[in-house]
Amino acid sequence: MSRVAVLKGGRSLERQVSLRSGGRVEDALERLGHDVVGIDVGGDLVPTLRRAEPDVAFVALHGREGEDGTLQELLELLGIPYTGSGPSACARCWDKVLAKHLMRDAGLPTPDFYAFSEAAFRELGAAEALPAIEDRLEFPIVVKPARGGSSLGIKFASSAAEVPSALVAAFSYDRKVVLERHVAGRDLAVSVVAGEALPVVEAVPNEEQFYDFEARYEIGRTTFVCPAALSADDTARAQELALEVWRLFGCRGVARVDLMRDAASGALTVLEANSVPGMTDTSLLPQAADAAGLGFDALIGRLVELALAEVAA
């Protein structure tokens, strides 16, 4: 059995979600017989890790601190094996602009988009280009921060008049934003563990127009269906797309790929990939693992094994 440091909490807006993910992970690790050290990540992380001397770190830290690759850089530097992807794959998943460019360049379907920095509007007069963007993307347009999780700051603009305030909101979270074509259809997620796709999960919002922060984490606000009621072809295609994204970004350990199935055309498109998927009781990865016959404890145990195997290899 190993000494496992569970990294959770932090100072991001996803702190509470991370604490819930981390708490569940700790319980599972204890049931598996590991020696568990829960660490609420703060300014004293490095000395705390040095003191704890873990064999492996379980990354349950969401938001920028856990997902942009810097935590992983730090763990590499300290020589501590860790769950999930390395710094470069994390960076590719975390930045939606980078991720979407990579997918588009690789020929993977992702909704049309334009990305702008705040400076582009302030200094380059990008506002002049908004009508052209609106023409090409057609309403409603999804406006989201380039970096961030849990659907925070995502707005739907259903007319040109709503675009500026949606941009202002998105810029509250990041200096770079994405304007994306809205895909009306079904909200799907494929989790991948060690290069194998798990069953597809579908999130069906009960009331809201879309899957927002609260709908995502409050029990009863969203109904999850796993395996999603898709045709065998759609299921295979969704899983294949997720694996292509996994390979393209260079993920390892675990990742979750979010997709949409267009209601009109039936086409599947990839929205984004998440390098530190949620582990809360409403999260999608645990549900997918469960549908695959892999209980939560087994999933957590597997991720730890993968992290340790990575070093041994």
């Binding site: 807006l13 705040e118 509007f121 302030r122 506002a127 908004l130 925070l152 700051g153 675009v163 500026p164 305030s165 941009l167 202002v168 909101a169 998105a170 810029f171 509250s172 979270y173």
Partner: protein, 363 residues
């Protein structure tokens, strides 16, 4: 209560509770079945919202202006409900130094509210945590004293005049209601901590509390003025805010293109926080407003916090101007349909007036 001029309360009618919050819960627990109507102010105490929600109440929110709840609108709402064959279980109001709006119900409205309650035989829950924290103007009679305790249930607490940590409050209720509340109280926690009660009783008997209250008032009054000054200096002409005569909070409203829930994300980067306005409504309104608490933080930190939020607001106003290619309109001119007129008017003293008033009344 006597300190606020509410006299003649029969000690038999007083139910000691675990904080004032428990009174709200007990009222819901004993009176509300799913779908029952509660009348509340728009906006209302964010801490009451999840309580009302937990009991699946249908909350009808009545607009406010600078004189508190629009009682005429409440009567219209009651008429409408009566036509639907529905009758509210109670009217929830924070008439004095409203949290989060910072406004106070005028005496004529208080009298009318009590009359309406009597005419229609409706219970009123008067939530009064802040009544003793008045910094200017004359005290107004509580609803309880105007009504004589027939239809008004009074909620009091030691949280704001002594310490929130002792978790001690009370309800004064007409006997039939008192009995039901008491049964609910037994089920909830039997009785509130005897240690806390002894502690409070001993302290208040010692006679020192008026000096403590005076110290609180002096401090909060000063901090309110610091905040009003800072708002006038840093929040820009697009923002408006209330001028509370007491209590702990004021309510600021930004141009409608700014969503304060998103703004908070940005503000946290600058290490300053506030309560986004949406939590004070049950229907998603309040998105451009925020509650600011001036009681807790030191004077210089209030000023610095308001400066930081103001800088972000200015930045977003400028960005919006760039995006729309025009100077952003004032919020009063371009309100989203459905935004409460009364709320945008509530209140707020324009900047210059705020400055003038402060100069006349503070140190």
């Amino acid at each position: 209560m006597a300190a606020e001029g509410t006299i003649g309360v029969d000690p038999q009618d007083i139910l000691v509770t675990t904080g004032g919050q428990q009174v709200i819960d007990l009222m819901c627990r004993t009176l509300i079945d799913p779908g029952d109507v509660i009348i509340a102010e728009a906006l209302t105490y964010p801490g009451a919202v999840p309580c009302f929600g937990a009991y699946e109440a249908d909350v009808v929110q009545i607009e406010m202006d600078s004189d508190g709840m629009r009682v005429d609108e409440m009567e219209a709402a009651l008429d409408q409900l009566a036509r639907e064959g529905r009758r509210p279980k109670f009217i929830y109001t924070i008439p004095t130094f409203h949290n989060p709006a910072g406004v106070t119900m005028s005496l004529p409205r208080r009298k009318r509210l009590v009359e309406v309650a009597r005419e229609r035989e409706l219970l009123v829950l008067e939530d009064n945590p802040y009544g003793l924290l008045r910094y200017e103007g004359d005290p107004l009679a509580t609803l309880y004293s105007l009504d004589g305790g027939q239809f008004v249930v009074y909620l009091g607490t030691f949280s704001k005049i002594f310490s929130a940590g002792v978790r001690l409050g009370w309800a004064v209720a007409p006997q039939p209601v008192y009995q039901k509340l008491n049964i609910g109280k037994q089920a909830a926690d039997l009785c509130s901590s005897a240690l806390s009660q002894l502690f409070i009783a001993t302290y208040f008997r010692s006679g020192e509390w008026p000096a403590l209250l005076a110290a609180f008032k002096e401090r909060y009054h000063r901090r309110r003025d610091v905040m009003l000054d800072a708002l006038a200096e840093f929040f820009g002409p697009e923002a408006t805010w209330t001028h509370p005569q007491g209590g702990l909070f004021l309510w600021a409203t930004l141009p409608d293109f700014i969503d304060t829930t998103d703004l908070l994300a940005r503000a946290l980067d600058e290490r300053v926080a506030f309560v986004p306005g949406r939590g004070a409504y049950l229907d998603g309104r309040g998105g451009s407003s925020m509650r600011l608490n001036f009681s807790y933080v030191a004077d210089e930190d209030i000023r610095e916090g308001v400066r930081r939020i103001g800088a972000i607001v200015q930045e977003q106003v400028a960005l919006y101007g760039t995006l729309t290619g025009a100077a952003p309109p004032a919020p009063v001119d371009e309100r989203r349909p459905g935004e409460p007129e009364a709320l945008a008017d509530v209140l707020h003293l324009p900047r210059r007036e705020t400055g003038d008033r402060r100069a006349g009344t503070s140190e």
